[in-house]
């Protein structure tokens, strides 16, 4: 029987790792993720987890060791955030290019400068072009569930890509919630053992991994990463279905909430989706036709699902905790790209908010709704709206 425990998302991630039984974990402490390697150390120290835990001297070496271990043919896990993920950046491309299904838990945190340890999504959003799959959790249960799902998707032979699972700094990483921990045997049968056919560093079958690609071959190598990302879309659907059958909880690449007759849909990710859904309930009571959508899978970007959602509404308001300078938010750019050639499309608005741990309040959401209402009649005043900005100190 699954057990319920009250725990932080960091602990949920460590539990997910324990259940997934990676043979190697290589990690380096960083706020707000530190509790993940701490908890895994405990599991290993108590003999509850049979993993080799490499206490590396940097995140760069953490991911490099993960690449080495994964290339040798074992399941691998690590956790990081913010500057740590940025330090991994170079190797993230390599992990994807070498098709190594490493899973990384990210306590989504802002990037310096100024140095700031609180939540936004700039860290993992900035890695969107690395070829990694990206999942974002709304709560601690999702953090655990999505890590298990990520392993299954990543290791699928049609995919073979690394995956990161993000959950918001402090809002989730350090906040306790009840989490259901599935049975080990159930997880074992869900995930199976990882026995790669493509990467193994075995003296009995010597292969060369990480060769130089000349112009005659590089583009095809990159194309296969593109194809794997495309293939992941279907695999994720399948895995989410199987996940529901196995564990009873249903996930979607985009989860819609009260969108069917909505004039305005607030699109967001992570824990903010919880706040937004509550807000939608309140506005519905006031008679405002509003809905919400949560992007659970950001890479591969759910283009089809965005298009289906767009057909239902007049305004898509993208609420995001990241910036792509001079463009707006990355989710906004991706959503716009999904809709660019659609004949009929809603107004798409971009709202930057909650950077570096700034609270997102109902007041902020009210402001967004009033801007969205005006936009229905063509009143788009700004290309990018900064919400909750303290103009008085600028």
């Amino acid at each position: 029987m699954p057990i319920r425990k009250v725990m932080k998302a960091n602990e949920a991630a460590a539990w997910a790792a324990k259940l997934a039984k990676p043979k190697v974990v290589a990690a380096f402490p960083i706020t707000p993720s530190t509790l993940v390697p701490e908890k895994i150390s405990e599991f290993v120290a108590n003999g509850e987890m049979d993993a080799e835990f490499i206490k590396v001297e940097s995140e760069h070496s953490a991911i490099s060791a993960c690449v080495g271990a994964s290339a040798a043919g074992v399941r691998v896990f690590t956790a990081t955030a913010s500057q740590g993920l940025a330090l991994m950046h170079e190797i993230l491309f390599i992990a994807a290019g070498m098709r190594l299904p490493i899973v990384v838990a990210i306590g989504n945190r802002s990037l310096s400068a100024p140095i700031n340890i609180w939540n936004d999504w700039q860290d993992s959003i900035s890695e969107r072009d690395t070829g990694w799959l990206q999942f974002y959790a709304e709560n601690n249960q999702e953090a655990l569930d999505l890590i298990l799902a990520a392993f299954k998707v990543a290791e699928d032979e049609r995919v073979l890509l690394p995956a990161m699972v993000g959950f918001d700094a402090f809002i989730l990483t350090h906040t306790v919630e009840p989490v259901e921990i599935p049975d080990q045997e159930v997880v074992d049968s869900f995930l199976g053992e990882y026995v790669p056919k493509h990467a193994y560093l075995d003296p009995a079958r010597p292969i060369t991994q990480g060769a130089l690609g000349f112009p005659a071959h590089y583009m095809e190598a990159r194309y296969t990463v593109w194809e794997a990302n495309e293939a992941a879309k279907k695999v994720i659907d399948e895995v989410f279905e199987e996940f529901e059958k196995t564990f009873g909880r249903r996930y979607h690449k985009i989860e819609e909430y009260k969108t069917d007759d909505a004039d305005i849909v607030l699109v967001t990710m992570g824990s903010l989706a919880g706040t937004v859904k509550e807000f939608v309930d309140k506005k519905r009571e006031e008679g405002v036709k509003i809905g919400a959508a949560k992007i659970t899978v950001y890479r591969p970007f759910p283009v089809e699902e965005i298009r289906a959602l767009a057909k239902k509404t007049k305004v898509l308001a993208i609420l995001e905790k990241d910036i792509s300078f001079s463009i707006g938010g990355a989710v906004f750019a991706d959503t716009s790209r999904a809709l660019i050639n659609e004949k009929e499309k809603p107004v798409v608005l971009d709202f930057i908010l909650g950077l570096g741990g700034r609270d997102v309040t109902f007041e902020n959401l009210e402001e967004i709704v009033s801007i969205a209402k005006k936009a229905i009649d063509g009143g788009v005043e700004e290309e990018v709206y900064w919400i909750g900005l303290r103009k008085e100190i600028l």
Partner: protein, 105 residues
Amino acid sequence: MAESPFKVEIERVKKEYSEKMTPGAVVYLPGSSVVNKTGSWRVFMPEFNRDKCVRCYLCYIYCPEPAIYLDEENYPVFDYDYCKGCGICANECPTKAIVMVREAK
């Protein structure tokens, strides 16, 4: 004279060789570089005088390619398919059993 161990390899590589892109651009054919005949780089070629050879193996040890293998009697044999003509073997040969000569092309 013993056949070059690398020639045997060429046959294997040619049979199994594929240019097809693999997941992760992994190369599954160990030692497949033997099909690249780097002997075409050569300007000077080593000429070997078996009578002077004392089988000290220095040329065999030093050849960076390696383009030198040993025959049944452990005399060095030069595989000109790969020899780039650097001349280390001749320079190090204690009995001058190897000399470098400009190659007529």
